[in-house]
């Protein structure tokens, strides 16, 4: 440690709180003390450092956990909005599908088709002799279940004596 005294330069103007003119002025000495701690070596406290890091790590972990929780929560809310929006969209599409099916059914109304065929296309109803079918009957014939049913009924189930 060294101490040095230095003389400050005389000032031209009198300082505001300085001695009034005519009075003797004393030189001021300021001492500067140079402290050199370079030779000092701080002793590492491993235990404290570990505690510190642990605490810091825990804090970061808690912070991250809270962050994660918050993110998850807000993401959940955000996803909730999105899910609801998609649900609404799906419902709207399903409804549109129903509407289209209804429209299709309306357009396939036999009366409408008949009117269009007669008025717009000038078609007429075919007479039976104009309808010529080749090959196997069309599926519409499936409507007519076997006319043999009545006979089978009596044959299979035994001909019940008529009630009258």
């Amino acid at each position: 440690m060294a101490t040095a005294a230095v003389t400050l330069p005389r000032t031209r103007r009198r300082p505001r709180n300085g001695p009034a003119a005519g009075r003797a002025s004393f030189p001021e000495f300021n001492f500067v003390k140079h402290i050199d701690n370079s030779r000092l070596v701080r002793e590492v406290d491993v235990e404290r450092r570990r505690e510190c890091f642990s605490l810091l790590g825990l804090g970061v972990l808690v912070f991250l956990f809270v962050l994660l929780f918050a993110w998850q929560h807000f993401q959940c809310v955000r996803d909730g909005y999105q899910v609801e929006q998609l649900k609404t969209e799906r419902a709207a599409l399903e409804e549109w599908n129903h509407q289209l099916r209804l429209e299709q059914a309306s357009l396939a109304d036999p009366q409408r088709i008949d009117t269009l065929a007669r008025t717009r296309l000038g078609m007429v109803s075919p007479s039976p002799q104009q309808v010529i079918r080749m090959g196997e009957p069309e599926p519409a014939a499936a409507i007519l279940e076997s006319p043999e049913l009545a006979r089978n009924f009596s044959a299979g189930g035994g001909e019940t004596p008529h009630e009258p």
Binding site: H98, R101, M123, S127, M134, P147, L149, S154
Partner: protein, 677 residues
């Protein structure tokens, strides 16, 4: 000091926190949930109704209803004034409702998309939307009485909608919605309801349309009060069409009258008249009290029963039993009825299903009117045998005729084909029936009824290409004074076709026609129209060559590539469309005579084809092969190869042809081939 202040501050906060989070927790949670969450009931999707080809006849769509919370309306008067023109409401009425209610008030239910958009654009506070379902009937008035209609709350009010309401309507679900301050939903929990089951009817919309159209024209032409037509499959009892006139549009059922909504097929009782002779004659034949050839003296059209004189519509002398039916002699029928006796006649009437509900799945079915023999008067047996003093429903009548058509089994009529939800199908009982007459009796009755059409009162019911059988009926109605009216009649025709192997039984009843009132004139032509179109649609093979039209080809012979034109010949030739050059009918009309250079040939009598002319044009001669036992495809290929024009009828293997095998004919000649089925 600062530390103490901080400690106090934290202590206050902690205390407040404890107060809110622990002490007031339940209360505040409830309040928050009430503000954020709301549970709404989701109306169940009502099941659709289809015809047997799965064409939708009724289906539901989601629509919006507008409601208000009057307490939230800042200016109810202004809101009512704004809504009135937008929704077509009365402003004063709406304002009155706002005043009378506080927490909930319907503004308008089931609004259209456009109306909902207009209301939404107004963006008014206190106005909300609620999703509901609305019933739509895409085919309008088609089968309206059978399908039915629903009320504002989707409850079935008529037809199948009413009869199967429990199956169709389903059960409502609930949705819990969590919304933020801006009413945006961010979470929802669903408790789905049970959607209604779908119903498939036995009706076929094409046959239904054919029946409705023919009936509507007949009712309009005869200026009748009403009419009903039923098409039934005699082999199963399934109803293929059920037409009523007048009818209504179930989409706007409130605009129709109760008379229009009445399903006359099951809810209307009428005196059947001569069509009821089917029962008395079947009974007499079954009991061996007569046979079709027995001659009955019809006493010049008059008979006295219990002091009452009953007259035929015109005097008849001796008639066979078949002729009694064909000429519709009341005297002959009464004599057969008297032979039966009261008890036996009554038992047969009950056995044919009269005086009891048929069990069809339609609401409002009537039993009809049938007194027990103990309450019969002396004249009753005679009157009932000719179709008076007895009340029946059209469905009972068509079912009785179906029993004769199918060989003697009375099937329970059915209109519900299937009930399903997804892949689950409800087990419906199979067609059930009971024998009412023997097969032999049924066969005799079929021949008798065929005679009615062949040369009796049912001539207008003769079909082109098909045999048919049936019975006309003209019954006087009872007027207000309780006596038979001289001006109001019920004209009917009930029959089946083809007569040999019936595919359909058809009933046509016209109530109170003006002018011509006989079933022969009013109802039989409707039967013909419905039968011809229905049989063609069902691809039933034609079985009556004697009524086939003249099959004629006109010279010059057409190239094979042009012959397909006949197969698409539904368009009138004046349209000038390719492929529609000449239809067989048009050919027949202008080639009836012998064309230049042509050769006229009569059809061979063994084919049963009388007075038909085939005109053959010039061209190289080819030998007609023997098509017996050939499939239609092979016949077509061979005719194509030889340059012959082909007219095939029926399906299966060839059993008959014209010209006959080995005959040399010019190329381009039309060859007619009948297949086995």
């Amino acid at each position: 000091m600062v530390g103490v202040i901080c400690l106090l501050w934290f202590g206050c906060i902690a205390a407040r926190l404890y107060y809110f989070q622990v002490i007031k927790y339940v209360d505040l949670l409830g309040r928050a949930q009430r503000q954020q969450q709301r549970t709404i009931e989701v109306a169940p999707q009502r099941g659709a109704i289809y015809d047997r080809q799965m064409n939708p006849l009724a289906m539901s769509l989601s629509v919006e209803s507008v409601y208000a919370v009057p307490s939230e309306l800042t200016e109810p008067k202004m809101v009512a004034t704004l809504f009135a023109p937008v929704l077509g409401l009365d402003a004063n009425d709406l304002f009155g409702r706002f005043q009378g209610l506080r927490s909930f008030c319907w503004v308008k239910r089931k609004v259209t998309t456009e109306e909902a958009a207009r209301v939404r654009n107004l963006n008014l506070k206190g106005i909300y939307f609620q999703h509901e379902t609305k019933r739509f009937y895409p085919k309008g008035d088609l089968a309206a009485q059978a399908v039915g209609y629903v009320g504002l709350d989707d409850q079935g009010l008529g037809g199948i909608e009413y009869a199967l309401d429990d199956e169709i309507k389903g059960k409502p679900g609930r949705v819990l919605l969590a919304s933020d301050a801006r009413h945006r939903t961010f979470h929802s929990s669903e408790w789905p309801g049970i959607p209604g089951k779908n119903v498939v009817l036995t009706l076929d919309e094409k046959i239904q349309y054919v029946a409705e159209k023919a009936l509507s024209e007949a009712v309009a032409n005869s200026h009748a009060a009403s009419g009903v037509a039923i098409v039934q499959n005699p082999s199963t009892g399934e109803i293929l069409a059920l037409a009523n006139e007048p009818t209504f549009d179930p989409n706007v059922f409130s605009a129709s009258s109760a008379a229009a909504r009445l399903d006359r097929a099951v809810g209307w009782v009428y005196e059947p008249g001569s069509t009821f002779k089917l029962v008395s004659m079947s009974a007499a034949l079954e009991e061996d009290l007569t046979n079709p050839q027995e001659v009955i003296n019809c006493q010049n059209g008059s008979i006295v029963v219990a002091g009452h004189t009953i007259r035929d519509h015109r005097p008849f002398g001796d008639l066979s039993v078949t002729e009694v039916m064909a000429k519709s002699s009341d005297v002959g029928a009464i004599k057969l009825g008297l032979r039966l006796g009261e008890d036996r006649q009554y038992r047969y009437i009950r056995s044919f299903g009269f005086g009891a509900k048929t069990g069809v799945e339609l609401p409002g079915e009537e039993r009809g009117l049938l007194k027990p023999p103990s309450r019969w008067s002396g004249i009753s047996a005679g009157e009932i045998s000719m179709g008076q003093e007895v009340g029946v429903t059209p469905l009972q009548m068509v079912t009785a005729f179906s029993a004769v058509a199918n060989g003697g089994i009375l099937f329970e009529p059915r209109i519900v084909h299937d009930i399903f939800l997804g892949a689950q199908h409800l087990a419906l009982p199979p067609a059930s029936g009971r024998r009412v007459i023997s097969e032999h009796t049924a066969e005799m009755m079929r021949q008798i009824l065929a005679a009615v059409v062949d040369y009796g009162t049912g001539k207008p019911a003769q079909l082109t290409g098909y045999t048919s059988a049936g019975k006309t009926g003209t019954a006087q109605k009872i007027d207000g004074s309780g006596t038979y009216s001289k001006s109001h009649y019920v004209a009917s025709f009930i029959g089946f076709a083809p007569a040999t192997r019936p595919a359909v039984t058809i009933l046509v009843v016209i109530d109170s026609p003006v002018g011509a009132y006989y079933g022969t004139d009013v109802a039989a032509p409707v039967f013909r129209s419905i039968a011809e179109q229905t049989l063609g649609y069902l691809t039933v093979p034609q079985d009556n060559p004697s009524r086939w039209p003249q099959v004629v080809t006109s010279p010059p012979a057409r190239a094979p590539s042009q012959k397909r034109g006949d197969f698409t010949g539904f368009l009138p030739s004046d349209r000038g469309l390719p492929g529609a050059a000449t239809s067989p009918v048009q050919s027949a009309s202008y080639s009836k005579g012998v064309s230049p250079g042509g050769l006229a040939l009569d059809r061979p009598p063994e084919g049963g084809v009388a007075s038909s002319i085939v005109v053959l044009g010039d061209g190289p001669l080819v030998t007609v092969p023997d098509f017996s036992g050939w499939a239609a495809r092979r016949v077509a290929e061979e005719c194509e190869r030889l340059g012959l024009d082909l007219n095939v009828t029926g399906t299966g293997l060839a059993v008959e042809q014209n010209p006959v095998a080995d005959m040399k004919v010019p190329s381009g000649t039309r060859v007619w081939v009948r297949m086995a089925r």
